[in-house]
């Protein structure tokens, strides 16, 4: 007969939690299957409407469509205007943007 001891209780609880951890992985697989349908539906909509972005932040142009933004979008009103939307601080400007400007830099390297 096992004696009731704190170590048994604690190890038991830890085992339970670990089992729940495993259950969460199984549950993830189940949810993935369940939600695959809506994923397909969205993909169809993206294709049909030729969408380019996720609808996460609707407060500003450059956060609603970050991939379509240019480096100036955030400073449309004034080149030194401060960002006034919180979501702007959640997103970096797309890395590919500076690339375009780099090219521009090179082109204008030779003074006219």
């Amino acid at each position: 007969m096992p004696v009731s001891r704190p170590s048994h209780l604690a190890l038991g609880l830890l085992c339970c939690c670990s089992a729940l951890f495993a259950v969460s992985l199984v549950d993830a697989a189940r949810l993935r299957q369940q939600r695959a349908g809506s994923g397909q539906e969205m993909l169809a909509l993206v294709r049909q409407l030729q969408l380019t972005d996720l609808c996460l932040f609707t407060e500003a142009r450059y956060t609603r469509h970050p991939s379509q933004a240019d480096l100036h979008s955030a400073f449309q009103d004034h080149p030194l205007a401060l960002e006034h939307f919180p979501s702007g601080s959640l997103l970096l400007p797309p890395a590919t943007l500076s690339g375009h400007h780099e090219r521009l830099d090179r082109e204008t390297e030779v003074p006219d």
Binding site: R5, P6, M42, T52, P94
Partner: protein, 378 residues
């Protein structure tokens, strides 16, 4: 082996009994610790699943989008561009898109207006995203009025609402016919917002993009791979929310560690001395403390992670929504498909469990190697 297990169980017994002596403090510690793991894991699971979703969904985005820039601002594509593109080899399909933003003062939200060609919407009718319908409180058949930038009032009837399950890409959409769009935004025929291209050979995309850039120096091609890359790096560690949370978590850990490192009280010291005097060796004391750290940090990790999993995938990350929402009124309701990155979970595990375990062990080490005869002197 059996003796070893039995011995560890004794050490755990003791460590639990000594934890139980400061029940409130240690439960509080466990709670705070779990909360840190919960926050970190929530952000981690959420951003990873979101990135994954973006990757899957935006694979359907157009291969090339051509924008026109005037003085650093987007401008309309003037007539003639579409025809000139047709002469480029390798372009399978091209289409002028019409879309734009509209601020609805009624609910103080921004909408994305868009022409849906193949929907064959009757003039005067709209299809709206489910998020918009919820925010504005409209149903199919309702009438909705928007005052155009020109000042004229337009009234539309809602023909349909986009499926709620697609809110992640469509929450704020207003789909309408081309004629309605041009009338509403006052865009003359032949002008477009931008042009989308489909390319026959995917390997040719970059070539075509550079040809486009040459042919239309005032325009900017955006490739699908660039779109995907934008979303691939969304919420990378440098970005606001993650950075803020990570900093907080680091600070919290630093405080925990500092408290542990400096907080070896006289009582604890005396206790270690007693244990050594009655026959425990340094290794036993260290193992006992190791179990304390391991039990606490392991349970905090598991509890925090499980709570985060439930939060993100069963409760739609409702605690993160206000952060993502910002000033926006319209926020999509969406359920992410759970994608769990083993490496990420392992990293989280190491970064949360190990610092704590180390922080408990190091100060003990110094006390544990001291001579046990100090207790003789009371």
């Amino acid at each position: 082996m059996n003796v070893w297990i039995e011995k560890q169980k004794y050490l755990i017994d003791f460590t639990l009994a000594s934890l139980a002596r400061r029940k409130a403090k240690n439960l509080g510690l466990l709670l705070v610790y779990s909360l840190i793991v919960f926050l970190l894991a929530s952000v981690m699971l959420f951003t990873h699943a979101l990135r994954q979703a973006a990757n899957e969904l935006l694979a359907g985005a157009p291969e090339i989008v051509l924008q026109r820039m005037v003085a650093g601002r987007h401008d309309l594509i003037p007539p003639g561009y579409l025809e000139r593109i047709a002469r480029l080899r390798g372009v399978l399909e091209k289409q002028g898109r019409l879309w734009g933003y509209y601020y609805d003062p009624v609910v103080k939200a921004n909408y994305t207006f868009m022409v849906a060609d193949d929907r064959l919407l009757a003039p005067g009718t709209l299809v709206v995203g489910a998020g918009l319908a919820r925010t504005r409180g409209v149903a199919p058949g309702n009438l909705i009025s928007f005052r155009a930038y020109s000042g004229k009032l337009f009234t539309f009837s809602i023909a349909d609402i986009l499926p709620a399950k697609s809110e992640l890409v469509s929450a704020d959409l207003v789909l309408l016919g081309e004629a309605d769009f041009r009338a509403f935004f006052d865009i003359p025929p032949g002008h477009y917002t931008d042009i989308t291209l489909r390319v026959a050979n995917p390997l040719e995309v970059r070539n075509i993009a550079s040809k486009l850039a040459q042919q239309f120096p005032d325009s900017r091609p955006i490739l699908r791979e660039e779109i995907l890359r934008t979303y691939d790096s969304i919420f990378s560690w440098r970005e606001g929310i993650v950075l803020a949370l990570a900093t907080l978590a680091l600070l919290a850990f630093a405080i925990l560690a500092w408290e542990k490192a400096s907080g070896l009280s006289a009582d604890e010291r005396r206790e270690i001395g007693i244990l050594k005097a009655i026959g425990w060796d340094t290794g036993d004391v260290l193992r006992m403390k190791f179990w304390e750290g391991a039990m606490l940090s392991l349970s905090a990790f598991l509890l925090g992670y499980l709570a985060a999993y439930l939060h993100v995938f069963h409760f739609s990350a409702s605690l993160l929504a206000p952060v993502l929402k910002g000033w926006a009124v319209l926020y999509p309701r969406f359920e992410l498909s759970p994608v769990i990155d083993g490496l990420q979970v392992t990293t989280l595990f190491f970064f949360t469990v190990f610092p704590y375990a180390a922080a408990t062990l190091v100060p003990i080490w110094r006390a544990a190697i001291s001579d046990p005869d100090a207790v003789m002197r009371g």
